[in-house]
Subunit: 350 residues, 3 copies
């Protein structure tokens, strides 16, 4: 066996060299980055999520679903604060019948006793059949997946959002919401999607854009203050994909043209030192008045939590999809677990 | 849709105007305050609790019960420290087969990211079918129930004890304990119930008194130091209900006359600043000696945790009911969950 | 009823007088100390653990196992930090279908309200059918078992490791690992077992040695710096049992002679004040080079977490058993739960 790469060595490899590690038997095995999902994978997963949602609402459907992965267990390793994503994964596990264990406060762990975090995570792989993790260190869950793959007991690792990095399951639920919303309108291809807010640092936007690139002829509006526009590497990626992108800081002007509006908040928990609180972000907030300017079929999304980006009185507008995104998240994560354990086919039994 | 009331506006409404919000289809839907429980509701719930207890002890009974609400999930939102009530609800959920999620440390939540608590709780209603909550702000869980009712995804909210406020499920388990204890002695009506300790601030006492008022000809002794006697509004309520009340600070004198003795501790965690530690509360403590003065059939209750109110050597006296109250709490909460999901009738299948 | 002994009075009794408390109907009832396990008990438990492991890997085996104790609940009371042991017990409970509740942060508990810890634990015994506990006070879980036995609702207490004290289930998993490893080599009797590191304070070593004394003609090497050699009472015990013991500080010299090597870390979390960090422990660390000196069939164990005692590159050597110990721990704890509820015989149904 070759010597184990260190964390730094591992991340020094370009993404294209790392991607093959995340597959086994030509299927997604570790869930790490949006870039690893093919169009076919998305279609298959969305079908499974549709089925999960459908069966949940049928008599004895919930009981049936809860029997499918009853023999599997998941570790929820969330050392970065998160309630929403944590609970979404927890309830997704419960939906398909998986037992769970959790580590949420790293100070409770045996790191006190000087153990390496790699050893700690290897311990979890002895007790659990999958590890869902959110850790503040960018790329760390990729490295854990790599390390476990070198042992005799590898288990799927699911990136539950890491640092400023990626949040692949948020991207899946976002695109699943678009997929469901445009089902009667010819699908996602050809639609005009608008992203608003902090496009530089919000990992949700980055992750979802990689997935939208799988669709045909999507057009994009990027509405942000100059200092928070999309990063150069992301812009380069969109150019390569020949996706038409409009950058602007004028939300009102754009509203009548979009099919979907993806609002985000300013990620100021990452740089509280900065004087970002002094900037006026109110022109990037959605008000009852400017919702009037949107098309009847257009939808409003938000990864949540929100602050002032969307006036709560918009919540009852039929175009508001952000609360529905939450439930879609639960269905898509349940579908993902079924996929990872190769059990989607069991749903046909119902 | 009318504009949402603010928290302050909502609580400004008199209780009688708020009570109808807590019912749907003429059944209790949100569990908020003792005042909302009718005599018929109590009788029905106690029957269900009896059945839960009975079935638990039969072969395969526990397995049967755990299948009844297997398709439902509860959120335990306990941002105020509590072990006892938390575990009672947890095990009640497990008894009827519900999966659970929990939030116990508000600092772990996405409040960090500036989300409103209302949004946070709406999130939970997307993932869970009921929310059991204990929050330090008086009236807050009532307001949450009101807010969720305005959305397309309302779920039952259960008040697990809020601030100095109400603790309705504690009241249910207390009266259920009285009901069981006096089953062979003509029931609760006509009995003499005595409350001892901090009657001003203990929410358990307040909640249970509202329920006892549903019974016929209950007489009450209130034993407390002058500064901790029952609040004027509660005294007024008892007068209106034509309940005979004796206020005194002499416990020994009262003991021979009571059918039930409800001991409480001084709630000094609410005002550590006060010099309450200097007062001598020992005359409001129950000793082995003064238990001798009680009638043979009388019972001793305590909402627990206790400090010095009851000498531990009394625990083995057959009149001590406080440990049994704990188990009754589990049964009554399980019964309540079955009721809220309209599933009590399923118990007849067993 | 006689007066309850105080904690101090209880512990003042010699161990031989306490041991009978831990049995009921001539079976182990409370799991407290290694000394209480007979050879017959070990053999029976190892058979059950073998069956648990075997059934887990069969189709529908996990589902079958998870039905056996579905009607029982366990409280995990871990007020001393622990992730590994906590999760091992949690997943053991899940394996046999038990629901669980947990208390991990004593500050969240109602100790705030002045309740005694004995009252708190009696509360748990009202809600749960077994209490698994790790508490920093040596002997405290023995005292809790004694207190609960005086009430009408005693439940089995399992010592999950207490202070510098005992860790009986760690000992069970260690000896189970030896049992499995030497199954094809005539069993544990007659083998040479070597312990390395902090033999004075590590509770794992102490606990496992008591069990090895149940086997015939085991020989032992104790490799440690003089200041951390085994305690006088343990040495006296080994003499009484006529077990041949070699004390040395030379690991390299010993390696060719041993059948099992049990590495431990220095327990410096117990005395951070001491200058132990200044001592050179590297001669008590296992390197790739000195693994070469070991016999082909010998095995390497470690209770984990490790620091520098074992070079991670040894992990892939087939003699490295420490990761397998983790999974054995889950199986043996599941077997123990089945035993405590008298349900081992149910495995034959599968």
């Amino acid at each position: 066996m070759e010597r184990l790469k260190t964390f730094e060595e591992y991340l020094r490899q370009p993404l294209e060299e790392r991607l093959p590690y995340y597959e086994k038997n030509q299927r997604v095995y570790h869930v790490m980055v949006s870039q690893q999902f093919s169009y076919d994978f998305l279609m298959k997963l969305f079908d499974t999520a549709d089925l999960v949602k459908h069966i949940t609402h049928k008599p004895n459907g919930a009981e049936f679903l809860a029997s499918v992965l009853q023999h599997k267990r998941a570790m929820l390793y969330f050392t970065q604060p998160s309630t929403r994503t944590f609970l979404s994964f927890l309830t997704a596990c419960q939906t398909v019948g998986m037992n769970t264990g959790e580590v949420r406060d790293p100070s409770l762990s045996s790191e006190l006793k000087g153990e390496s975090q790699e050893d700690g995570l290897r311990t979890f792989s002895s007790y659990f059949d999958a590890i869902i993790m959110r850790d503040p260190k960018p790329g760390f869950c990729e490295y854990v997946a790599y390390c476990l793959d070198q042992t005799s007991r590898s288990v799927p690792i699911i990136n539950g959002g890491s640092g400023k990095d990626q949040h692949p399951t948020q991207a899946l639920l976002d695109v699943y919401t678009l997929y469901r919303s445009f089902q009667e309108q010819g699908g996602i291809s050809g639609k005009t999607c608008c992203f608003v807010g902090d496009l530089l640092r919000g990992r949700a936007v980055r992750s979802v854009i990689y997935l939208l690139a799988r669709y045909w002829k999507v057009e994009m509006y990027m509405v942000a203050p100059d200092t928070l526009q999309i990063a150069p590497d992301l812009e380069h990626f969109l150019q390569e994909q020949e996706i038409k992108v409009h950058k602007t800081d004028n939300l009102e002007e754009v509203l009548p043209h979009v099919d979907s509006l993806y609002m985000t908040r300013v990620q100021d928990e990452y740089d509280l030192s900065q004087e970002s609180a002094l900037l006026d972000y109110s022109k990037f907030h959605l008000t009852i008045e400017n919702v009037q300017r949107m098309q009847k079929h257009a939808i409003i999304m938000h990864p949540l939590p929100r602050r002032h980006e969307i006036d709560p009185s918009i919540d009852s507008d039929p175009r508001a999809m952000y609360w529905r995104q939450l439930r879609n998240g639960m269905y898509i994560r349940a579908a993902l677990l079924l996929y990872l354990f190769n059990m989607e086919h069991r749903l046909a039994e119902y």
